[in-house]
Amino acid sequence: MAAKIAYTDVEVGTELPARSFPVTRATLVRYAGASGDFNPIHWNERFAREVGLPDVIAHGMFTMAEAARAVTDWVGDPGALVEYGVRFTKPVVVPDDDAGAVIEVSGRVAAKLDDEARTVRVDLTATSAGQKVLGMSRAVVRLA
């Protein structure tokens, strides 16, 4: 593992660079194929509405993957991730237009966990259209 951020350079409260990730219907079709999750709520508006959704929604695991990027891009090595968990609180609604939706991700170092293992806990916030879409979104990463 080769994290590019040094444990000694980080303090509780250190902010990670904020990120924003676009998601369109095309993104969802591609993610469905790559992940094998073909639930029609992610690509069929008629079906989504029938089950009570406002429109097609992004896969929760897609949103989780994007939120992780705030951490893995910051630390430089995706293999430095030790733990990662989220709660799916609100769906990311993806309208059928060229703009789609945007997932905004920010993060801050919430705790320095272990001086020897050089691990820190990063708390992430993910929103879309002003709504918090992930809850309890936390990652533990091993720094250099």
Binding site: M1, A2, F21, T27, R30, Y31, G33, A34, S35, G36, D37, N39, I41, H42, V51, G52, L53, I57, H59, G60, M61, F62, T63, M64, A65, E66, A68, R69, T72, D73, G76, D77, P78, G79, L81, V82, E83, Y84, G85, V86, R87, F88, T89, K90, P91, M136
Partner: protein
């Protein structure tokens, strides 16, 4: 109707090995729009100390979720799979998944609860490589919406 509590603690036999392909990793990385070279360039992965290209952290879910599917579709458990949505997801990594891994998943039902008419099932998937070494543990919380809560609960993320 509440699910049978005697299923708590039940483990299911390991899945058949899933062989992680480098092109599948590339496809997944492109699908999440992540250009990190460790996913596609073995030289870049080696510079970070990995023996080969690694998969994005959430890649393994496709494998563990399929394994969990075998659990929740257990006719003895009697879960209505069409009402299942994904509540929480957590991973603990010993090392990243990498190209060439042959991964098996052993799923265990950690808890069964009934909350507001919904059945809430926690499934733990232990992922090991072909040498029997631990790679990652995935905890998946599945919420089966009660018939009366259908529609209202559909606002959650589905899988």
């Amino acid at each position: 109707m509440a699910l049978d509590q005697s299923f708590v603690g039940r483990s299911y036999p390991p899945t058949e090995p899933y062989e992680v392909g480098r092109e599948k990793i590339r496809e997944f990385a492109e699908a999440i729009g992540d250009p990190h070279p460790a996913y596609t360039d073995s030289e870049a992965a080696r510079e970070l100390g990995h023996p080969d290209v690694i998969a994005p952290p959430t890649f393994v879910f496709a494998i563990t979720f399929k394994a969990a599917g075998a659990v929740v579709e257990d006719p003895g458990l009697g879960l209505d799979y069409s009402r299942v949505v994904h509540g929480d997801q957590r991973f603990a990594y010993t090392r990243p998944v990498r190209a060439g891994d042959r991964l098996t998943v052993t799923s265990t039902i950690e808890s069964i609860k009934s909350l507001a008419g919904n059945d809430v099932l926690d499934v733990r998937g232990e992922v090991h490589d072909e040498n029997g070494e631990h790679v990652v543990t995935a905890w998946t919380k599945l919420v089966a919406r009660g018939a009366s809560a259908a529609g209202a609960g559909a606002g959650k993320q589905g899988e």
